[in-house]
């Protein structure tokens, strides 16, 4: 692998956040197997992965674009679209499912008109589903902007989301 050929390619823009990505790649020695780690850092910094980010990371690590795109789309943690101002994650693990997670999703879809994985047209709230957050003792659980809300009730949840 020609890992070193592309080292030194300049960042897509003079946005200072690219430095954090560069630091991460340097610490990993620009090794191609560090791809997932670098994509994690890039998404943490920019919120999502756009085409510029994917090609920059790929070229820097010597990983072909097809493989970078393959990895970025294989893992559900990575997103290629910008997220809304707020995020609402509905846990759909088994304990939440038997305690009514689907009623929560139905209420959100009805009242906010948005399906899991999408953002409201005004870009305000992104609704996501999680496999299991491990907050099973508070099922059904919802995470709004990083804060866990246990024993969620559809009407109250919609109310909270509308007031965000």
């Amino acid at each position: 692998m020609a890992t070193s050929t592309f080292v030194g390619r300049s960042a897509p823009s003079d946005d200072k956040r690219w430095r954090q990505v560069d630091v991460r790649m340097r610490r990993l020695g620009y090794r191609p197997d560090g791809l997932i780690e670098v994509l994690h850092t890039t998404q943490e910094v920019f919120g999502y992965l756009d085409d510029d980010a994917l090609s920059y990371v790929g070229e820097s690590l010597g990983v072909p674009p097809s493989k970078v795109y393959g990895v970025a789309t294989f893992y559900s943690h990575f997103t290629l679209k910008p997220q809304g101002l707020h995020t609402c994650v509905v846990c759909t693990g088994t304990a939440c499912y038997i305690n009514g997670a689907s009623a929560l999703l139905a209420a959100i879809s009805k009242e906010l008109g948005v399906q899991p994985g999408a953002t409201t047209p005004d870009g305000r709230v992104s609704v996501l589903k999680a496999r299991c957050l491990g907050a099973c003792s508070m099922a059904p659980a919802v995470v709004i902007d990083g804060e866990v809300h246990g024993h969620a009730v559809p009407a109250r949840l919609v109310d909270v989301l509308e007031k965000l």
Partner: protein, 575 residues
Amino acid sequence: MSTDGPDGSAPVRHGRQPEPLIPDGPARASANVCQAAGCLSMGSDQLFETLRAAVLARGLHDVAVRRVGCLGLCAAGPLVEVPEQGRLFERVHPGEPKRTEDLVSSLAGETVAGRSVAADPFFSHQVKVVLERCGTVDPERLEDYVATGGYEGLSKALTSMTPEEVIAEVVRSGLRGRGGAGYPTGLMWRTVAKAEAPEGKYVVCNADEGDPGAFMDRSVLESCPQQVLEGMAIAGYAVGAHRGYVYVRAEYPLAVKRLSSAIRQAERDGHLGPEIAGTRFNFQVEVRIGAGAFVCGEETALIASIQGGRGTPKPRPPYPASSGLWGCPTLINNVETFANIPSVISRGGDWLNTIGTERSKGTKVFALTGAVTNTGLIEVPMGLTLRQIVFEIGGGLAEGRKFKAVQTGGPSGGCIPESLLDMAVDYETLAAAGSIMGSGGMIVMDDRTCMVDVAKFFMDFCREESCGKCLPCRVGTEEMYRLLDRVTTGMATRSHLAQLEDLAAMVRATSLCGLGQGAPNPVFSTLRYFRGEYLAHIDDHVCQAGVCPVPAGPPAGATEAALAGTATVSSGGRP
């Protein structure tokens, strides 16, 4: 200040936190405040600060206030244990000052309050090996771990045992893999130890706990990460590896943080890194973070993911024990398996061998959740019955509902009905009942749960998580989902049910990896024990639990022929 993972998982605190209060002499009373994910999300970090301030304000110089890992009874968080008094304080919400006041006056010795731990069946049935230090040590203080005998197993192995003696001890313990399959751990170690490795070997800890409703590995990593690291280092010595990886889910930011901090502290104090315990053995551990793919719990997919690629499985053989990471022999064990190792070495394999059943030795950690009163994290000796777990430890069903089934083994497991509740839990009996031990999720279901809908729920999970590499899994899970959807919406006939059973058998027999091979299990087990519910949906258009939207009247897609002869089938009982 707090940040949350992009998937919205529980927030992780950064920056300096107030130090625990530890008296100079022996503590008369200690408040051990749970800092595991469940209690943290109910504000136990704020509670710690409030308690600390209250104890300081009252000048209680012989009272300790400490942060500890999971105390187990997650349903009643935030939890504080006062071990000197044998009391557990439940629901100490920082927003309810009365609860905190009661606790402080109890710490001061003025009153006696809280739940008595000794007499409580939730605690008295448990035997703690893996969770020995969960809830007693501060997960972010290496000195706590060392003070309770931590790293004694590693130094004993390095200074007084040969690698073969370490393996013999693990074989003698009878320990089997806790990730689900139950392969004898000692045999796997021996295979890796014997493998030729001109370019080195690796030890990998599988912490990609993907089963929905399971949080055992997360709790262990959040409560006592050092114990897992010690187990990995012992494994490294035994098989001749000098590098280890812990592959953790991205959904567990707190576990990643505590694990990373534990690695730094262990390296600083010479428990990891070069020349461990003054010997020539060196061992380094790195954390790799997953990115949300359930299939990466499968060992060959996990290896592909650590190497930076798409997590798709490969046909075995070759097994990772001979050709794993970068083609080198690789030992892969689960978090709970590694957490058992320090005790096996320091107390001897015979000690663990005395716990458990004939063929399943030791204990098993379960995440007990669902429609049960005491949800939480438990560790029981192998061989306890399901009834004891659900009705004594779990305290029976919440709201006095009627028991219907208990689901074990996640999307590859099965549902066990009431008639089998007196079954002793071990690898073989669970397999005979059509389920699996799995990693340890145990979800209790009451009469408001529809078993067809449960099968559909797990199939929905599997079709979304199928990596798409092999056809039986990629297409089969999708088709089985559609057939189940037909049943739940009243569009199915008996021929659809027969089709479902054929397809399930085919997917089980022909899929490449455990995800596809296990995907039909929820269908098989619900059909085995709850066939009547399927038939009620198909023939009578009745969902007894009231969950499925089955319309009244004959199904739109049904033919007269398919509906013929259904009148004699009762909708409730088993066929």
